[in-house]
Amino acid sequence: MLIMNKIGYIIGREYMVRVRKRTFWILTFLIPVLYGLMIGFSVLMTKNPGIKLQEVNVIDYSELFKDKLSDNDDINYVFMEKGTEQGLIKMLETAENQHVLVFPVLDVNKPEGIKLYSTKQAATVTSDKIKADIKNIIKDERIKALGLTQEVIAQLEPDIKLDIKKISEEGIEDDNTLLSGIVAGIAGFLNYIFVFIYGSLVLRGVHEEKQSRIVEIIISTVRPFELMLGKIIGVALVGLTQFIMWIGIIAIISTAGIADLSMIAGNNTGSSELSSILSGLSNINFPLIIATFIFYFIGGYFLYSSLFAAVAASVDNQTDMQQFIVPLSIPLIIAIISIQGILQAPNSDLAVWMSMIPFTSPVIMVARVSFGIPYSQLIISMILMAATFIFATWIAGKIYRVGILMTGVKVTYKQLWKWIFYK
């Protein structure tokens, strides 16, 4: 009871000291604002990719396109006199957003020799649009030649939708590969960032405690292990507080953002993919993903931050610290590098192994779980994670206890190993 009280005071101090800092609040609000700006920017980009109205001067020797090439938001077609092309091409040298489109006399069945002149290399968006417009007109001409009406064509056009199903332990489910990939990528990356951000807060905290020499006063009252645990839990709560606030703020921003996206999706029939993504959100098992995320955040954070704490307790200066922190961080970095490959093949051998090894599972398992994986794998991975973080915290506690009192000692791996066995 007394011990719990003391750890409680330590957790309280570690929490309050950090939450009261200005940087905590700046970061808490800045990240969602950046996220909001990102969403806003992408919405803007979808509406208007930043291309100005293009004026296309058309010289039509084929007489096929007059009154058929119609203007749209991006392109203005202007039909010019035949034989003026040389002058127009010369004009392009000084004019901006101007193009010259020349149709020779055309055989509808073999449309060749159409030329587009532009000042600069025409943006692909523009040339693609022009190409599509021409293609539609030629297609219509061919249909006319065949003697078919638009109604017949509409009947011929089949509406194929591939309904992809996935066979899993729960039977047959809808597949949301694209959406799962996005959610998995975000979750894996977030966990990577969190473990590093809050792990390094612990690292810094322990380092300061050792440098300022407050630690001897504290551990004459509480066990070093209790101090370490209190700090790790305190910082974890700071992380969770920040996480919950982020989720809250981001949820508000996203609601506005998604509403805007839905509107675009509704207006534009071509964005049926976007509509299906939005409707697919409901098919993803968010409770499972969030639960897994929190479990692996706690597990990964405890694993790494306790090892970071042991390192910070053992060494005197920042340079020596790097020597130990870099090798410790490598598995996590490998995990984040391989995440893209894992997203493409979430059930490959590599993916399965990396989601089992506790040093990489906080990123990889969190990413894999949104694709729906066998529960047996998840359970084994969780047990391994829990066992490893408990073991790591215990080992770290042993090193921490000796290291925190050692000053002026150049620490080696061999020494750390010996400290584990000190009485």
Binding site: L2, K6, Y9, I10, R13, V17, E208, E209, Q211, S212, R213, I214, V215, E216, I217, I218, I219, S220, T221, V222, R223, L405, T407, K418, K423
Partner: protein
């Protein structure tokens, strides 16, 4: 009754023995000087008493019972290597440590304020530690060691960094607390503080205890039967009188014109026998024993071991 007993404590780091079969008894209400050169093992012993580290063998008794972690609340500790959380405010820092020592928050608040007032630093309550000078921080650290009303207080080099005024303030507080029944263990290199404050001392050197006990008895033990006599004397005294003394120093004090003579009495001779001899030779004004101070004892003991 002894408040603290250390029994047969051993401690080694790898192949280096830091404490070798240490026995200590600290009587209640003593100011117990823990002396020894650098690297003798004093800090290790203090850490073992504080349960910061474990000994390899032996035990520590508190009030006759093996010491437990619950007893740590009755201990106060001012380490030699000491620091504070720089970003915390003085008031909340003291409050935090008082709570870790088991005080309830409302009691702790009162106690903290009381001590800050007593040490004339209540104005610092809302100041951050980093805004205080080193001397001010030392005061806060001393308050930390005593604020939870411990029965046994360990002070490791308590006076380093204090100006004479604050040193006096701390000394008076130590004596004051002692009067109220508190026991102190004082580890220091400042022999004048040992002379002034301690009534018990122990000397540790090279992981072993060299000597311990009441300071005055130790001094007696090290007294070499040397006496200083001042008086008016016209005759020349013999350098030695067989079986009674040998004369070590013989000079005339400039400011008083008195003769100052230093005698070493032969084994078993008493001061009265010397006086009986001297009254026939001179007019004795004063006589006192030259007692070795702790500094001399410390140096001679440490050097003896080094020479062995």
């Amino acid at each position: 009754m002894n408040i603290l007993e250390v029994r047969g404590v051993y401690k080694s780091y790898e192949n280096n023995r830091v404490l070798n079969n240490i026995f200590l008894s600290v009587p209640q209400q003593a100011i117990y000087g823990l002396l020894g050169p650098n690297g003798a093992g004093k800090t290790t012993l203090i850490r073992i008493i504080n349960k910061i580290i474990m000994c390899d063998e032996g035990e520590v008794l508190f009030k006759g019972q093996p010491m437990t972690r619950n007893d740590l609340h009755k201990l106060g500790y001012l380490p030699e290597e000491r620091g504070l959380y720089n970003k915390m405010k003085v008031g909340e820092h003291l409050l935090y440590l008082a709570q870790l020592k088991g005080m309830k928050s409302h009691v702790a608040r009162q106690v903290v304020k009381k001590h800050l007032k007593e040490f004339e630093c209540i104005d610092w309550y809302n100041k951050k530690i980093e805004q205080l000078s080193k001397g001010m921080q030392q005061k806060i650290q001393f308050i930390i060691a005593i604020m939870h009303a411990p029965e046994f207080i360990i002070l490791d080099e308590p006076f380093s960094g204090f100006d004479p005024v604050n040193t006096e303030m701390i000394k008076n507080k130590i004596l004051d607390l002692k009067k109220n029944g508190v026991t102190f263990m004082l580890s220091t290199h400042r022999m004048e503080s040992v002379e002034e404050l301690c009534n018990y001392v122990t000397l540790i050197n090279k992981s072993k205890k060299m000597i311990d006990g009441e300071k005055n008895k130790i001094k007696e033990q090290f007294s070499k039967n040397i006496y200083e006599v001042k008086g008016h004397c016209t005759r020349t005294l013999p350098e030695t009188v067989n079986g009674l003394y040998s004369l070590i120093e013989n000079e005339v004090e400039e400011d008083t014109d008195l003769k100052r003579l230093v005698f070493k009495l032969d084994h078993g001779k008493k001061t009265n026998e010397l006086l009986q001899f001297l009254v026939n030779e001179m007019e004795v004004v004063s006589m006192r024993e030259i007692v070795p101070d702790m500094n001399d004892i410390f140096i001679s003991l440490v050097n003896n071991v080094d020479n062995e």
